[in-house]
Amino acid sequence: MKQIRRILRLYRIFIGQHLKRLMEYKVDFLAGAIAFLLGQLINILFINIIFSQIPTLAGWRYEEIVFIYGFSLIPKGLDHLLTDNLWKVGWFIVRKGDFDKYLTRPINPLLHVIMEEFQVDAFGELLLGIVLVSMMWQKVNMHLSFIEAVLFVGVILFAALIYTGLKIISSAIALWIKQSGQIMQIVYMSNDFAKYPTTIYNGLIRSIITYILPFAFTAYYPALYFLTKKDPLFNLGGTVIASIILFAVGYKVWCRGLKAYESAGS
């Protein structure tokens, strides 16, 4: 308990520091948030153009496709908001020799890396996701019981953990090879596949995004459950299991990486 209180206090201090830095360049960061919002809006425009010509896509109506798309943005944005500093580990913190500082402090290095930043850019994605889901809520006839509502919120948290787990694993590779930004990029960008029903892909891609880089569990499968109320064991259970496995593996890899780490600094 004392431990947790200490961490929360530290987090508040870290965020305070980070926000001060943001204030220095506030216009720049506002531009960043708008950029992420616009990036997603283009895809929504694209979906609108598609549905101006066809009634259903792979059996889904416009409202359902937008619902799935919006749903996908929420865990993505959540992870983006909280753990964005991992990107810096992959791209340059290790390479420049700045990683040493995390090892010299009396706090878990992984926790330290994650707590150090609070990426406000993510609000662009997060807000759009929430807006899209709530706009489509009525139109897809979403009725949730109390338990289902709890599941809805819970599954989003686990889905965000899938992103975090994959980011931890791919950023930890930098602890061995100094820079893993490109590998992170490839892993992370695969989430693009998750925004549309997996039934449009061929078997190979479907297996990859279900079993190897399980981004399908961050959006399509859980959304499928709430749209059809079918197969909760696979659609929701899969999300929970995938996130726990990825996070556990991620933490293991990270700890191994710390052992293998040799400073790049001079």
């Binding site: 506002l30 992420f36 616009l38 694209f46 792979a58 990029q185 960008m189």
Partner: protein, 272 residues
């Protein structure tokens, strides 16, 4: 002219060497950034399957596949990221080293980037074009490759790059005023995705918007070469669009000069 080349060609060589040194990094980066092409590919297949006809707003299935993959590689070829270097150099003050030398600042950047573009063109661009031609052959059973059109496509790509380079230079000069342009460069990237028509073909937009987008310099950057390659433009349209590209090269070059003049008066070198 010859003397000029002798001055700037070493920059090109340095660009090639830099690219070769980081070829692994770049290839991985390229793969990461190209994954969404496969999302689009499958999305388009699903759209055409749902549509029951072989045309979607005037595009055939084959044209759409070509569009997706060509747009991606053209964006890589045309995109200029020298402004990020410029931004860093302004921030750390090393820009002064370029300014005190008897060379033209934008040419030194242009020729350096030319080196990286040559590597991308030969290493990635040509294999992709070849792959697409094989795909096109498998789909239609005849060779639709036309050397004349291909050369026009190359010309248009070069012009597109030129526009993009000077546009980015204008943008890079903003670092003189703002000192930090990370958010703006993200914003620029997002806007360009829409304005260049590299993700959603401009032909899908409402008529009025289409006219505006086609006239703006952004369509000249990647949309024009892609449309020429796919064969969506007839002879007159090709002539018009390449003419428009030329006009934009001149206008934006002039603009970058003007901004440069103002910016150098503003320059405060931080540290260094």
């Amino acid at each position: 002219m010859k003397k000029k080349l002798k001055i700037y060609l070493p920059f090109t060589r340095a660009g090639i060497q830099r690219m070769m040194a980081y070829r692994m990094n770049f290839s991985l980066f390229f793969i990461g950034e190209s994954l969404y092409c496969f999302v689009m590919y499958f999305l388009w297949q699903a759209i055409f399957n749902a549509n029951h006809t072989e045309r979607f707003m005037g595009f055939t299935r084959l044209e759409m596949v070509l569009f997706v993959f060509l747009s991606n590689i053209i964006t890589f070829l045309v995109n200029s990221d020298m402004m990020e270097d410029l931004g860093t150099e302004i921030k750390d003050g090393s820009i002064i080293m370029r300014m005190i030398k008897p060379i033209n600042l934008d040419f030194s950047f242009l020729f350096m980037e030319l080196g990286t573009k040559i590597v991308i063109l030969i290493g990635i661009g040509l294999p992709i074009v070849l792959g697409l031609e094989i795909y096109r052959y498998c789909m239609t059973g005849c060779i639709l490759f036309d050397i004349g059109r291909f050369l026009l496509f190359l010309l248009s790509t070069i012009l597109g790059y030129w526009i993009s380079f000077y546009l980015n230079l204008c943008f890079g000069f903003m670092a003189f005023f703002f000192n930090n342009i990370w958010g703006f460069s993200m914003l620029k990237q997002a806007l360009l995705k829409f304005l260049t028509g590299s993700m959603i073909p401009i032909a899908f937009m409402p008529a009025l918007l289409q006219k505006v987008l086609n006239l703006l310099p952004f369509a000249s950057m990647s949309y024009t070469p892609v449309m020429i390659y796919i064969g969506k433009y007839d002879r007159l349209q090709i002539l018009q669009s390449i003419g428009l590209q030329l006009i934009w090269v001149i206008i934006i070059y002039g603009l970058s000069r003007a901004i440069w003049k103002i910016a150098t008066d503003h320059l405060t070198v931080q540290g260094g």
